[in-house]
């Protein structure tokens, strides 16, 4: 577990409920370095979303350690954890979760609402992020007036607007047809090439196959990890065995 890891999990388990207990994660460990593009692949119910929520500090693990930029999430209270999410973590969801009554630009700017950034800078960053995802001409549209692929681009812009250390995407192409899904994949790859660290969940092995690193999951366990790219992969791989 190197100090420069953006994200590091150590023996993370998650058990839901008590009677009967449902183990969603059963000891997951891996690290992600800055600049990686990681796919988490596995069948439905294998624990991918649970893992993403734990990585995103929306949920605390039953056991194990989550380090974000070297900080142990377990040591942070709600306020500090929230601030961490506001500054360091961007989320992209399968259902986009855009506010229908706000414009595209406002939706993107709200990615920084809780980060203590003043409004002017939020909107400036929103314009930059929209330009980055190719939607500068849709700024003033309501989300209901644009296509599904465009909506997901808006959601990606919202996740990127605060320049977070990690972008976590849960089946970002799950609600899109394959051509649109492919273009979203292309966008994520481009963003990664520009330096964003992205962890993306998918149950589509074919999509995952295009990614430089794939972590496969089954029944709450990591079954394989192709490891980080050689440049940063000194500590990756093998630890789950």
């Amino acid at each position: 577990m190197s100090a420069e890891s953006v994200l590091s999990l150590e023996g993370v388990t998650k058990v839901y409920g008590e009677e009967p207990p449902v183990p969603a994660l059963r000891g997951v460990s891996f690290s992600v370095e800055a600049g990686e593009l990681v796919g988490i692949v596995g069948p439905s119910g294998s624990g991918k979303t649970t893992l993403l929520h734990i990585m995103g500090t929306l949920e605390r693990p039953s056991e194990g350690v989550v380090l974000i930029n070297g900080t142990d999430a377990a040591l942070l209270d709600d306020r500090k954890l929230s601030y961490l999410r506001a500054r360091e973590i961007g989320f992209v969801f399968q259902q986009f979760f855009l506010a229908e009554h706000a414009t595209v630009r406002e939706n993107v700017a709200d990615g920084l609402l809780y980060a203590g950034v003043d409004a002017e800078l939020r909107y400036q960053r929103a314009d930059e992020a929209l330009a980055r995802v190719g939607l500068e001409d849709r700024s003033d549209f309501k989300p209901t007036k644009i296509s599904g692929g465009q909506r997901q681009r808006v959601a990606i812009a919202r996740a990127l607007v605060g320049r977070p250390a990690i972008v976590l995407a849960d089946e970002p192409t799950g609600n899109l047809d394959s051509a649109t899904g492919a273009s979203i994949m292309g966008l994520l790859k481009e963003l990664n090439a520009d330096g964003a660290t992205i962890i993306m969940i998918t149950h589509d092995s074919e999509l995952a196959g295009q990614l430089p690193r794939q972590i496969r999951m089954l029944d709450g366990r990591v079954t394989s990890d192709t490891g980080a790219k050689p440049a940063t992969g000194s500590m990756a791989g093998g630890r789950d065995q």
């Binding site: 929306l58 709600d78 601030y83 609402l113 809780y114 980060a115």
Partner: protein, 407 residues
Amino acid sequence: MSGRSHRLGFEDGLRVASVGLRARPLRAGLSALGIAIGTAAIVAVLGLSSSSQAGLLAEIDRLGTNLLTVEAGKSLTGEDANLPVDAPARISHISQVEQLAYTGQVKDEDVYRSPLIPVENTGGLQVRATSLNLPAVLNTGIARGTWLNTATATVPVTMLGSTAARQLGIDRVFPHERVWLGNQWFNVVGVLDSSPLAPDVDNSALVGFPAARRYLGYTSVVGSRVEMGPPNSIYARAAQGHEAEVQAVLAKTANPESPSQVNVSQPSDVLTARAAAAGAFDSLFLGLGVVALIVGAVGVANIMIISVLERRSEIGLRRALGATETQIRSQFLAESVLLALIGGAVGVFSGVMATAVYASAKGWMVVIPAEAWTGGIASALLIGALAGLLPAMKASRMPPTAALRTA
């Protein structure tokens, strides 16, 4: 990684708090209606009672509080007493009495619309002989026609008090308008405005003392001489500030032999008491207003709970974007307060408008006590906070992940 989450600024806070209102304005409006109605009722009740009180006080001010009334009381044996015929003259010699008028009730005579009306249907109206300066002393206006003068006071004509005119069905004075009074026709020369300081005048058909003597047999015997009939109400205006001194000597002056058979009063006291009573608001309507407010509070709480359940994914998303539990709680609390405040503001406005319309129709000054609208807004605020508390707690405790999960 240092730092903690920031508070939202006012503008951002307001924008976030109004998300629900902007998304569903109709629902928001309906849920705030109860509070609007309750606040309107309370403001209107308080405003109307204050305005009617102000109206009465203004009326008292106009009529003057220095009028004293001397009336014949009962004799020791319980019969109606009379005031001595020379009582007005004696009272007018009191140095602090500035003006004086008097009437004498012609007890055996009544007034009717026509001879066809059965005699027992007097309608509670009286026939009174009057001194000619009565309207000036009572500050009573002439509604129609002309007041009696030295000439008309000697002939069978009458001036009607406001209630008497209404009861007799005389709301205009035609040249030959007349009433059946003491078995003969009396021409009606006019109608008075109401006299709040002397309600008896309102109920009376007024005739001059000479006419009362000549046509109605209203006389008294002093020694061996037959004179005009006795007064039984004397209205004296005391010099401003000397009402109490005058009041103290009036009974003795009016009837030196039996001052106990004289009642002296200050009629503005009655009006002042009535004004105080008008200032006391109608507690039934106030109670209804409070009930409407409570119903409104329940309505807002209900809508907020539904809203929290419906907006789980918004809450989850905001948590993912970095909102703290406190920020989520504040958002829903603020939304509830905003809803209630809008209801309260609309209610205050409607209550003020209702008061203004009613009071100006009555010719009162429009008085909205500061407590009415500050209280209205403050209770709306309190209700919003109370109604929103539980839903806001629920929202902040909701685990963000459930709503964010892909089905």
